[in-house]
C-alpha cells in the first residue's frame, strides 16, 4: 500500500507560522568578526571605537574572550573552541563578536574593528598538494582474485582499459536558512534555539563548552531551514551566543550572514581521483582501481573518503581503492549530502561511461553486465537489491533505447542533445533510537523523539507510522521532535532517520498498546476490568464491548498511558546494506555558446519500504537538484594568497534556480527490506544525489563528444 500524505506541518510552513531558530526573540544581537588571513595570529584588535558605537553592549575578542571549554572531540565540530587563543587557522575564522541592542548596531560596530595580524604562509592549494598527499590510517582496501599478484597486473591482463583523472571543487551546503542561535538563560538554565540536525549533540557539546551540567541545557529546534550535513556541527556562533547571553544577562541572537556561512559552517572538500578500469572485450570488468585524494582541513577532524563505493558498486574480481588527503589551512569541513559518494560516483560513473564508449557498448548494458549479485568486496549477500529493475524500468520509462550512441549526432535547433545514465548507491544503517508513544484521553496520540525534520518529512513519518501501528487516522497523531526534552531518537544524518526511528515508532506503539491493555484489564474503573481486552484500530474490546482508547482513558480518569521503546543500532551481520537507484537524463548544449542545460530527468529508486511517497519523492527530487548544481554550477575557489573563498555569496556561488530544473520524474520500487528492519525502509535522503554528476557528464559527452572530468561542467569547458 502506498501512502502519500501532505506534510503534517504544511499549514505552518505556508503561513509563515513555523518558528525557525532566528525567529525567536532576543533583546541583544551578536555580530561576528572573522579573520581575513589564512594562517597566523591576531596581534591586536582595538575594540575602542566599536565599544563607543551606539547600542553596543560588549565586544569579545581573543584578548577579551568569553571562557569556553574545548568541545571538539572526534566529531564534526572544530577542534579548537572559538576565541580561546589568538591563532588564525583559516580565512573567515571567527575572531570576535560584537553584541548590541539591535542587529544593525552590532553589524555597524563590527565594521569598526580592524584586527592586525602576524601572517604566516598558509597551505591552501589543494591541487598543489595532491602529489604529496598523506595516506589515511587505512590507506588501501584491496580484493584480488586467486593468483592475481597486484591490481596493476590485473589491469595489464585486461583486454581494454580506461584510466583518467577526475577532479571536483570545494562545495558549500548553502541551506536557505543561514545558521542562527538564540540563547536564553533563566537562572542557571539555558534554553538554546539553534539550527541543528541533532539537538542532543548540541546539549552535550554546549554543556561542555559552557562548563554546565547537561541537565541545565535545553535545546529547541523543531523547524530547520535545510541542513544537508552543515548543521551537524556546533559552529562558533552557538557557544558565543550562549556565553554572551550568560555574561550579559539577556537573551542574545546570533545569525551568520550568508557570506559568513561559507567559512564558519563547513563545506565539502575538493577531490582528485584516478579511476582505472580493466575489462574483457565483452565488457566484463576485470579490475577497478580507484585512487582517491581529498582535501582536509587542519582545524577539524572530519574528512571524506571518495573512492570507497568502487568497492561495492560493480562486480569485479579485482578491486583496489586508496585513500589519502591533502592537509589544508582552510575552514573545517563537514559532511555534505552523501559525503564521499557524491564526488566518488562522479568519477566511477564517468569512467564506466568512458569504458562503454571505448568498448562500443551501451553504457546501461555495461552496468547490467557487471551487476553485483553479491557484495563485491565481501561476497556477502545483499539484504535486498532490485537495482536491475531500476535499470530496466527506468530505461523503458525514459526511452533509453532511442539514445543515439554516436556523440554529437542529435540536434534540436541550436541545441545538441545527449542522454546519460548512472547508478546511485548509498549505505543503509540503523542507529540507536528511543521513541515514546503516548495515548491520550482526548483520543490523540503523541509520537515523540529528539530527531530532526530538516525538510525530510520526519514529522509526517512519525504521524504515518504512529497511525498505522495504532490503527487510527494520521490526523490523530501529534508528532513531536527537535526538542532535547524528548526521548533520545536518531538525529538527522547519514540518511538514518526513518530507518532508525521508523521501527522504534512501531515498537513504541506496541508498548503503548500493551500499557493500555494492562490498565484496561486491571484498573477498577475500567469496563474491561478482569477481562482480557484486545486493541485494534483505536478501540479496546472484550466480550462484544468496544470502546475507543480515548473514552476508556477518560472512564479510568487517566490523562494518558505511555509506551517507550528503544531499539539498538546495527543490523544483522553477514549482509550488505545499500540503497540503490538509477538516473537517466537528457542534457542540451548550445552549439554556439556551450551552455549545458538539463532538459529531462528520471530517477528510479530501490530504498526498501517507502513510508510516505509524497515526501520521499521530494527528498529524491531535491537531491537530484543539488546534484545538478554540483554537476553544472557549484564551485568555491580558494584564493592562493589569502585562503579566502572567492565569491562567498549566493550571486557568485551558483546553486540551481527554478529555470535550471526540468520536470524531475521519480519512481519507487517499494520492496520492503525485512532483513534490514521490520519496517523494511532503508535510507533515502542522500542516495538521490549520488551519480547525478556522472549522469550529467555522460549526457554531455553523448551530446557533444566532449568528456569533462573536472566539475563543474561549465560552458567554458564546452566551447
Amino acid at each position: 500500500m502506498t501512502v502519500s500524505l501532505s506534510r503534517v506541518e504544511s499549514r505552518l510552513k505556508v503561513t509563515g507560522g513555523a518558528v525557525f531558530a532566528a525567529d525567536n526573540v532576543a533583546t541583544a544581537y551578536g555580530y561576528l568578526v572573522t579573520s581575513t588571513i589564512a594562517l597566523g595570529t591576531v596581534t591586536a584588535m582595538d575594540a575602542t571605537a566599536a565599544l563607543a558605537a551606539p547600542g553596543v553592549l560588549a565586544v569579545y575578542t581573543p584578548f577579551n574572550p568569553l571562557k569556553l571549554f574545548g568541545y571538539g572531540d572526534n566529531s564534526t565540530d572544530e577542534t579548537a573552541p572559538v576565541l580561546q587563543d589568538n591563532g588564525v587557522r583559516y580565512n573567515g575564522q571567527v575572531i570576535g563578536m560584537v553584541v548590541a541592542d539591535t542587529f544593525e548596531h552590532a553589524r555597524d560596530a563590527a565594521s569598526l574593528i580592524a584586527p592586525t595580524y602576524d601572517v604566516k604562509p598558509g597551505n591552501v592549494d589543494f591541487a598543489a598538494g595532491v602529489a604529496t598527499a598523506t595516506p589515511t590510517s587505512s590507506p588501501v582496501a584491496e580484493v584480488l582474485a586467486p593468483g592475481v599478484t597486484s591490481i596493476d597486473a590485473a589491469l595489464a591482463a585486461s583486454d581494454v582499459t580506461v584510466s583518467a583523472v577526475y577532479t571536483t571543487p570545494h562545495q558549500h551546503h548553502n541551506p536557505m536558512e543561514p545558521h542562527a542561535a538564540v540563547a536564553v538563560w533563566t537562572d542557571d538554565r539555558l534554553t538554546l534555539y539553534t539550527a541543528t540536525q541533532g539537538v542532543m549533540n548540541v546539549v552535550s557539546h554546549m554543556a561542555r563548552a559552557l562548563g554546565v551540567d547537561q541537565s541545565k541545557v535545553h535545546v529547541v529546534n523543531p523547524y530547520v531551514g535545510g541542513a544537508f550535513g552543515g548543521k551537524i556541527g556546533n559552529w562558533a556562533h552557538v557557544p558565543l551566543a550562549a556565553a554572551a547571553a550568560r555574561a550579559l544577562g539577556r537573551p542574545v541572537k546570533v545569525a551568520l550572514t550568508r557570506e559568513q556561512t561559507f567559512a564558519v559552517s563547513g563545506h565539502r572538500p575538493p577531490s582528485h581521483q584516478t579511476v582505472t578500469l580493466g575489462a574483457a572485450k565483452d565488457g566484463t570488468l576485470v579490475a577497478i582501481k580507484h585512487e582517491g585524494v581529498s582535501g582536509k582541513s587542519q582545524s577539524g577532524p572530519s574528512m571524506e573518503n571518495v573512492a570507497n563505493q568502487s568497492l561495492t558498486t560493480y562486480a569485479s574480481p579485482n578491486l583496489h581503492v586508496t585513500r589519502a588527503f591533502v592537509p589544508l589551512d582552510v575552514s573545517a569541513m563537514t559532511p555534505m549530502r552523501a559525503p564521499g559518494e557524491t564526488h566518488g560516483a562522479f568519477a566511477l560513473e564517468s569512467a564506466m561511461d568512458e569504458l562503454a564508449f571505448k568498448l562500443g557498448m551501451d553504457p546501461l548494458a555495461l552496468r547490467q553486465k557487471n551487476y553485483a549479485v553479491k557484495v563485491p568486496n565481501s561476497g556477502n549477500p545483499w539484504s535486498s537489491k532490485h537495482l536491475d529493475e531500476c535499470y530496466t524500468a527506468g530505461a523503458s520509462a525514459f526511452g533509453w533505447d532511442k539514445r543515439n550512441p554516436v556523440p554529437g549526432s542529435v540536434r534540436d535547433g541550436d541545441w545538441l542533445v545527449g542522454l546519460g545514465t548512472a547508478t546511485a548507491t548509498y549505505p543503509a544503517s540503523r542507529s540507536k533510537s528511543t521513541i515514546k508513544v503516548r495515548l491520550q484521553a482526548d483520543g490523540t496520540a503523541v509520537v515523540s523523539g529528539t530527531g530532526a525534520d530538516l525538510g525530510t518529512g520526519q514529522f509526517t513519518v512519525f504521524a504515518i507510522l504512529g497511525a498505522q501501528a495504532l490503527g487510527i487516522p494520521a490526523g490523530s497523531i501529534v508528532p513531536e521532535l527537535g526538542d532535547s526534552s524528548l526521548p533520545v531518537a536518531t538525529p538527522a544524518g547519514g540518511s538514518t532517520s526513518t530507518s532508525s526511528n521508523g521501527p522504534a515508532v512501531l515498537a513504541a506503539a506496541d508498548a503503548a498498546k500493551a500499557a493500555l491493555i494492562a490498565q484496561a484489564a486491571t484498573n477498577p474503573a475500567s469496563p474491561f476490568n478482569g477481562k482480557t481486552p484486545t486493541y485494534a484500530n483505536g478501540m479496546v474490546s472484550a466480550d462484544g464491548v468496544s470502546m475507543s482508547f480515548g473514552s476508556l482513558l477518560t472512564a479510568m480518569d487517566l490523562p494518558a498511558v505511555e509506551g517507550t521503546s528503544s531499539l539498538p543500532s546495527g543490523t544483522t551481520k553477514g549482509y550488505g546494506y545499500l540503497s540503490f537507484g538509477a538516473h537517466f537524463c537528457e542534457v542540451r548544449v548550445n552549439r554556439w555558446t556551450g551552455e549545458p542545460r538539463v532538459s529531462r530527468w528520471l530517477t528510479v529508486i530501490d530504498a526498501g519500504t517507502i513510508v510516505n511517497e509524497k515526501t520521499a519523492r521530494s527528498q529524491v527530487l531535491g537531491a537530484v537538484v543539488m546534484g545538478i548544481g554540483g554537476a553544472l554550477l557549484e564551485d568555491s575557489r580558494v584564493e592562493p594568497d589569502t585562503g579566502r573563498y572567492a565569491g562567498a555569496n549566493m550571486a557568485a556561488y551558483l546553486v540551481p534556480v527554478n529555470a535550471d530544473i526540468p520536470h524531475v520524474d521519480v519512481q519507487f520500487l517499494n520492496y520492503p527490506d525485512t532483513v534490514f528492519s521490520p519496517l523494511g525502509a532503508r535510507g533515502l535522503g542522500e542516495l538521490g544525489i549520488v551519480g547525478v554528476a556522472g549522469a550529467v557528464a555522460n549526457a554531455v559527452h553523448n551530446a557533444t563528444g566532449k568528456r569533462v572530468r573536472d566539475l563543474p561542467i561549465t560552458l567554458d569547458k564546452l566551447l
Binding site: A652, P656, A659, D660, T714, L715, L719
Partner: protein, 320 residues
C-alpha cells in the same frame, strides 16, 4: 551601514537642491541599499527620488523616451517597446529577478556598480572603491571579469544588460543639475577605468538622470545573454544586435557586447566588416573575430574571447 540622513524629494528642483557631494539619490535601492549595507557606498545623506515625476514610456515614430524612474519590469512588458525595441525588452527581461525588476529603475540600472566580488568586500583592496589600494582581481579570481577596456588598475565589467542594448541603439540620456540640462550619448557617458577606476561615468555630483532617449530602429534585433545559470545571474557575455538584411546581404548592423568590457562595448569594426557581406553564419563568425582585437584575457577568463564571438554570431543569426 554607516549612519545617514534620509529625506524624500517632492520635485526635481527640490531633489537637485538636496543633491551633491556625499549625497546619493535613492531610486529602487537595489544597488544603493545593497552597497550601503556592505559599506561600499557610504553616503551621508540619501535623497529618495521616487516621488519625482520622472515617469512615462513614450513611443513615437522618431523613437522611445523612458522616464528614469520607470521600473525595469514595466518597461520589459511594455507592448510597443517589446515589439519595436525588442533588444531592450529582452535585455530587461533577462536581468536580475522579477522582484528586483519590480523595484529597480531604468536610471538606477545605468548607474549600478560592478559586481566584482573584491569591490563588494570592503576588507579587500580595490582601486575602484579605495583608490590606490590595489586590484586583487588582476591576479585573483577573475572568471567573470572583463577582457576589453581593462587597465592595470581595474578589470571589472560593467554589469548592466540594459546599457548594452542602449549603446547598440545609440541611445542618449538626459541629465539635469542645478545649472541646467544636457543630453549625453550613453556610449560616451561611461569612462574606461584607466588609472582612475573610481570615476565610472560623466555624472556630476548632484546630477540626475531624468530620461533615456532611444532612436527608432526597425531592423530585426536580438539580445543574447550567456551565463552559467539559466536565470538570476549576470552575463558572462551578452550581445545586443540590430541587423538590416536585404536579399540575403547585410546592409548595416549595430552591435554592442556586455559581460566582457569595463563598459558596455560597441563594436564599430565588426559592424563595418558586416556591411555588404552575405547574411550567413560564416560571415557573422568572421566579422565577430574583430570584436576581440586588443582584448586582454586574464588567468580565468580567456574563454570569453571565443565566447563573445560566438555570442555575437548567435545573436545575429537569431535577430528577429
Amino acid at each position: 551601514m554607516r549612519g545617514f540622513g534620509y529625506g524624500a524629494a517632492a520635485s526635481v528642483r527640490q531633489a537637485l537642491t538636496q543633491g551633491g557631494d556625499g549625497t546619493s539619490y535613492l531610486a529602487g535601492g537595489t544597488t544603493l541599499v545593497d552597497l550601503m549595507k556592505l559599506e561600499v557606498m557610504t553616503p551621508a545623506h540619501v535623497v529618495d527620488i521616487n516621488s519625482l515625476p520622472l515617469r512615462g514610456i513614450q513611443c513615437t515614430p522618431a523613437g522611445l523616451r523612458i522616464g528614469a524612474l520607470e521600473r525595469m519590469a514595466d518597461v520589459a512588458v511594455h507592448h510597443e517597446v517589446a515589439s519595436r525595441w525588442s533588444m531592450v525588452a529582452t535585455a530587461l527581461r533577462l536581468s536580475a529577478s522579477p522582484q528586483l525588476r519590480n523595484m529597480a529603475s531604468i536610471g538606477g540600472n545605468l548607474l549600478q556598480r560592478t559586481r566584482c566580488d573584491y569591490f563588494r568586500d570592503v576588507r579587500m583592496p580595490c582601486n575602484k572603491r579605495k583608490p590606490g589600494s590595489g586590484c586583487p582581481a588582476v591576479n585573483g579570481a577573475n572568471r567573470t571579469h572583463a577582457v576589453l577596456g581593462t587597465s592595470a588598475s581595474c578589470v571589472a565589467t560593467h554589469a548592466s544588460d540594459l546599457a548594452v542594448a542602449l549603446v547598440a541603439l545609440d541611445a542618449s540620456i538626459r541629465l539635469q543639475d542645478r545649472h541646467g540640462q544636457r543630453v549625453v550619448r550613453l556610449a560616451d557617458f561611461y569612462r574606461l577605468p584607466g588609472d582612475t577606476p573610481a570615476v565610472e561615468n560623466q555624472l556630476r555630483p548632484g546630477e540626475l538622470i531624468t530620461e533615456v532617449i532611444v532612436p527608432a530602429c526597425d531592423w530585426p534585433q536580438a539580445y543574447v545573454k550567456v551565463r552559467d545559470r539559466t536565470s538570476y545571474e549576470f552575463a558572462l557575455a551578452s550581445a545586443a544586435v540590430a541587423v538590416d538584411v536585404h536579399r540575403g546581404v547585410v546592409r548595416d548592423a549595430r552591435i554592442a557586447v556586455g559581460g566582457v568590457g569595463t563598459r558596455p562595448w560597441r563594436l564599430p569594426a565588426t559592424e563595418e566588416a558586416l556591411r555588404g557581406k552575405p547574411a550567413t553564419e560564416e560571415s557573422y563568425l568572421e566579422a565577430a573575430k574583430l570584436a576581440v582585437v586588443g582584448a586582454k584575457p586574464l588567468g580565468d577568463n580567456a574563454f570569453k574571447l571565443p565566447l563573445v564571438q560566438r555570442t555575437i554570431a548567435r545573436a545575429l543569426a537569431g535577430a528577429r
